[in-house]
Each structure stands twice: as C-alpha cells, then as structure tokens.
C-alpha cells in the first residue's frame, strides 16, 4: 500500500488553564483528544467543526507550529516532532499554510517580494536576489496577479488579492501539502468563488494535497473528497465527502447540516426542539451527550469509538442509519 503523505497519530493537545484555588493542580483544557488521520497525496481533506472544537489547533500541529502533548505527525514518513530542527526547517518547504485573515497574514511593512519569497529560506540552496525575484514574479502571474506587483505593499491590494498573495507565498517552494485554515471565510461570496476556483486549478496542476479547514459546510462539500467532523477535540465522523454528506450518521453531523440555512425560502426549516439533558456528563461520557436527542445511559457511561458504518467511520452508539 502506498504510504500516506501525512499521518496524524493519536494526537492529544492540552492547554493549561489558570488555577482557581491556590494549591490546586493546574487544570487543563483538552483541545485535541486522540486524533488519527491519514491524508493521501493529491486528495483534499476537509476538517469541519464549530469554533473551539480544536480544528485550528490540529492545523498548527500538522504544520509543526505547535507541539502535541502526546502523539505525533508523520510527513512523508518522517516524524515531525522527532527530527533535528535543521531538518525540520528544510522539510517545511514541502508543507505550507494559507491563513484566514487576508489583512493579518501579510506583514504590512514588507513588500510583496519579501512576503512571497520568505519560505524560500527553507530551501537548501541560497538563491540570489534576481533568482528570487524571478520566481516570485512567476508565481504571482500564476495566481492571477501581475509580475510587476513585487514592489508593492499589502495595503495596495484588496482582500481577495491579498489571499492570492498568501497562496503565492504558500506555493513558492512547490510544496506537496497546503493547509488552508478558513482561507476563504473572510471573503465576500463573489471573491470567495474566485479564490476557490484558483485553489482547485492549482491542485489539478500540481497534484497538491489540501488539508481544508472550515466551518462552512457547503464550501467543504464542494472542495474536498474526504472529510472529518470534529467535536470537542474528537473526530465524531469521518469518511468520503460524498458518503458523509449524503448519509450523515452522527447526530452532531446531522445537527450541523440541518443548521445551515437554506437559500431557498420555500424550504422552511423545522424548528429546533428544546433538549433537556437527561444524563449527568462525566469524563467518560460521549462528548456530545448533553446536546444529543438520542442519548442513552450507555452514552453517559462510555465514550463511543470510531467504527465503520455504511462506508464511513462514526463514533456513536446509536447512529442514524436511515
């Protein structure tokens, strides 16, 4: 079997919280709770969840910008958290990131050349200024900007153009993986469509792998071929986009999908029923217990593991098999 490009292995991430009593052991917040994933070359993998579910933390760990508390990430078979830092720096040319905020992700004090060329430092060979400029101009054209834009500064561009610059920066080292953390969320729909199209074209051209993180389900459905739904730091459902979106099994996935307001005013939504939690939540319970309409005693006592069901994986004792 072919080796996966990225292998996320049992990743936990805890953040310390401030103490509430003086002599208490510092409490922690578990942002990620045993995440296992494999991303194959050329695929686009979606990570879906609400704010605070840990999806951005996961992105940062995959990018080796943050250390997991336990577990690790393999990139092209190499353990990112167990290699010399010089090697990691060099390896970084192969995975790059496109961020959410087109205004915050470009240093306002640097010109476009400086911004886009920055990842070139991860290459082993040192490039001359002329070589850098040549490569930057080339990539700018590729993302739909002008080769002459190298001397301009970020504030001279609109939000959509800035996001193109960010894509150019991520692409300049010809990486195999691009992690896109809410990369189109801040854009207006008309611009969002342009940027999505660009990303799709680039994927076809360079056989890129995307890890596409978003809270926008319709965008994820459109862009990705595999998807994982994260709730409170755990994967609750995972599978091919097609099977997951057409046949969501986990109550949480269903809640998410149903909550998206339909653009057709004739498709009136059902009212949400008020749920009264019936079971006491413990550290062993299913994380979705207090919001689940199908919760049982079993769910309160044991956390379900991911099991295969109807062609994809779901962590639920009572999946909705229609």
């Amino acid at each position: 079997m072919k080796q996966p490009l990225v292998k996320i292995e049992d990743v936990y991430k805890d953040y310390q919280l401030p103490k509430k009593y003086l002599f208490q052991k510092a409490p922690f917040f578990r942002a990620l709770h045993g995440i296992n994933l494999e991303l194959n070359q050329g695929s686009s993998f979606g990570i879906v969840g609400e704010s605070g579910c840990g999806k951005s933390t996961l992105a940062r760990i995959v990018m080796a910008l943050d250390n997991p508390t336990s577990g690790t990430v393999f990139f092209e078979g190499r353990d990112l958290f167990n290699i010399p830092s010089a090697e990691l720096r060099h390896l970084r040319r192969n995975f790059q990131m496109v961020f959410q905020d087109p205004y915050g992700s470009l240093n306002p004090r640097k010109n476009i050349l400086g911004i886009v060329a920055e990842p070139l430092d991860t290459l082993k060979e040192r490039l001359s200024f002329a070589e850098k400029k040549e490569r930057v101009s080339q990539i700018l054209v590729e993302v739909g900007l002008n080769a002459a834009d190298t001397d301009k500064f970020p504030h001279e561009f609109s939000g959509g153009q800035r996001q193109r610059i960010a894509i150019a920066r991520a692409l300049i080292t010809r990486p195999s993986l691009i992690v896109a953390d809410e990369s189109v969320s801040a854009l207006d729909v008309s611009v969002q469509a342009q940027v999505l199209n660009l990303m799709m074209d680039l994927q076809d051209k360079y056989n890129l792998t995307y890890m596409f993180i978003s809270h926008d389900l319709s965008v994820v459905e459109y862009v990705t071929d595999h998807v994982a739904v994260i709730y409170m730091g755990q994967i609750v459902e995972q599978g091919t986009t097609k099977s997951l979106f057409q046949n969501p099994l986990h109550p949480y996935t269903q809640t998410l999908l149903r909550a998206v307001p339909d653009v057709n005013p004739l498709n009136k939504r059902r009212e949400v029923k008020e749920r009264i939690p019936q079971f006491e939540m413990t550290s062993k319970s299913c994380p979705f217990l207090d919001r689940c309409i199908k919760a049982t005693k079993n769910c309160a006592d044991n956390a379900p593991k991911l099991v295969e069901n109807m062609g994809h994986w779901v962590a639920c004792f009572n999946p909705d098999v229609a």
Binding site: R89, F95, L106, P108, K110
Partner: protein, 282 residues
C-alpha cells in the same frame, strides 16, 4: 526607505503639532550643536564687576551672580541636556527593547522574570536611583545619565513587549514560522519593523522626560557639576537670588519648558502622522 520617509514627512506637514514641535526641537538641537563652535562669551569667564546685570545690548539676557553671560550659559546648557537625554535614551532603547522583545517571544518564566524586573525597576524613580548612586559615587553628570537611563529601560521594555505581543498574535508571524524562521529572526525581521514607529514616538517622549529629569537632578546638585553649565543648576543658583534678581529664574526655566513642549508636540504629531498609516495597512 527614503520614499517612506518623504511620505511621512509629507503627511507631517499637514499636522500642526508635528510642524510646530518639529521646528522647536530642531532649533534646540541646532543651538546645542552651535555651542561646540560659538557662544557669545566664554561661560567660564567670571566678571564680578558685571554681576547680576539686567538684559542689555551687550548681554542680551543679562548676567548671573558671577557676571557670566546668561545666554552663553543657556546655549551650553542645551548641549548638556541633549547629551544626557540622548545617552539615557540609548541605554533605555539598547537594554529595554531587547528585553521587551525577548519577553514577548519567550513567554513563560522568562517573560515573568523580565516583567517582574520591570515592575521592580519602576519602583526606583530616576531621582531615587540617582540619590543612591550619588550617595556612593558622589555627584556628577554620569549619575544623571545612569539614573535616567535605568529608569528608561522598563519604559521601553514595556512598550516593546506590549506592541510585540499584539504583533505576535498576527497571522503573518505564523507564516514566518512555517517558513522555518526562529524567534530571534522573527523578532528582528517582523516584529521590530512593525513596532518601530511606536518606539520612535516613545523615544521623543522619553527625551523630553529625560531633559526634565536631568534638570531636576542638577537642580538638587546631584547631576551636572560646575563649571559645565546646565539649566537645572542655573535655576538652583537663581533660587538664591530670587528676592533681588527674579529675572534669573525665568530664562532657564523657560528654556526647559519650551524644549520639552516642543519635543512633546513633535512626539504627538509624529504619532498622529504614523498612526493612520498603520491603521490603513492593517
């Protein structure tokens, strides 16, 4: 670089504080510079016969109790103020900014340590440090430089850290880290340029404060020593003659006030000139 400076300057010309403050500050520096080449009379010349003269065409601002020319002493005193304030700013920037940048980059106990050090140094206003130093070394202008410089360190460290922390949260820092840049390189390449305008503004304010502090120390006799004239020292001497030559108290004080006001206005103007640019490009 030059294009940017020219741009800032162009915006500045529309700002009243920037222009007025800039002109006053420039005059002050020119006068201080002038003292190296020329003063109307040598300030060491004691001429008891012509003591405590009122302003006249010979002595534009009159003479003091030793018959020294007040104008000459003011000109030379400007030089003294500039040097003390400059070196003290240098100490503050040189130690404070790296400390602040480190605290912002490292977080954890390093940050805690630096911040405690900061709070602690704040507990010793320059006058108290100067008193301690004088108590063991005896008075001298070096004292004032060290004392004011030490007090400047936590000021710059705080400004640098505060500004740096907000820059560290921005996404372009994550981008730089994904490009394999370490904390030091990021601090120098990304953080510093983005907080430099704040540091410059703070420096002009500290410059003004430094002049005030130096005057205070010299006034108490803890700072600059005779025969080098200083504005604070002149005020101290004027105090003795307050009852029959009150005019002596006017000039040095006015010189201090005008200079400090000029620098403060310039700092305010500079902040306004630099700020909207920052906001727009965010």
């Amino acid at each position: 670089m030059f294009r940017k400076l020219a741009e800032v300057f162009g915006h500045g010309l529309k700002n009243r504080s920037f222009v007025i403050g800039g002109i006053i500050s420039l005059l002050f520096f020119l006068v201080a510079f002038l003292s190296y080449f020329w003063t109307p009379y040598p300030v060491e010349d004691i001429n008891i016969a012509e003591r405590l003269l009122k302003p006249s065409t010979k002595y534009l601002l009159g003479t003091d109790h030793f018959g020294r020319d007040i104008l000459s002493m003011l000109i030379k005193g400007a030089r003294n103020s500039v040097i003390v304030a400059f070196v003290a700013i240098g100490i503050g920037l040189g130690c404070g900014v790296p400390l602040g940048l480190t605290a912002a980059a490292k977080k954890g106990w390093v940050n805690e340590l630096i911040m405690r050090f900061n709070d602690f140094t704040f507990a010793f206003p320059s006058l108290i440090s100067a008193i301690m130093i004088t108590a063991i070394l005896g008075p001298g202008s070096i004292n004032s430089i060290i004392a004011i410089g030490i007090f400047n360190i936590p000021v710059f460290a705080r400004v640098a850290r505060g500004a740096a922390l907000s820059i560290w949260k921005r996404e372009f820092i994550l981008a730089a880290r994904s490009a394999g840049k370490g904390q030091f390189k990021i601090s120098v390449e990304h953080i510093l340029p983005n907080i430099s305008s704040m540091l410059i503004v703070q420096a002009t304010i500290q410059f003004a404060l430094g002049i005030l502090a130096e005057a205070g120390l010299s006034y108490l006799g803890l700072g600059t020593q005779p025969p080098m004239p200083s504005w604070g020292k002149m005020l101290n001497e004027a105090h003795t003659f307050m009852h029959f030559a009150p005019q002596l108290a006017i000039y040095p004080g006015a010189a201090i006030a005008l200079t400090v006001m000029g620098l403060n206005l310039f700092g305010d103007g500079l902040r306004d000139v630099l700020d909207p640019k920052l906001r727009r490009s965010r």
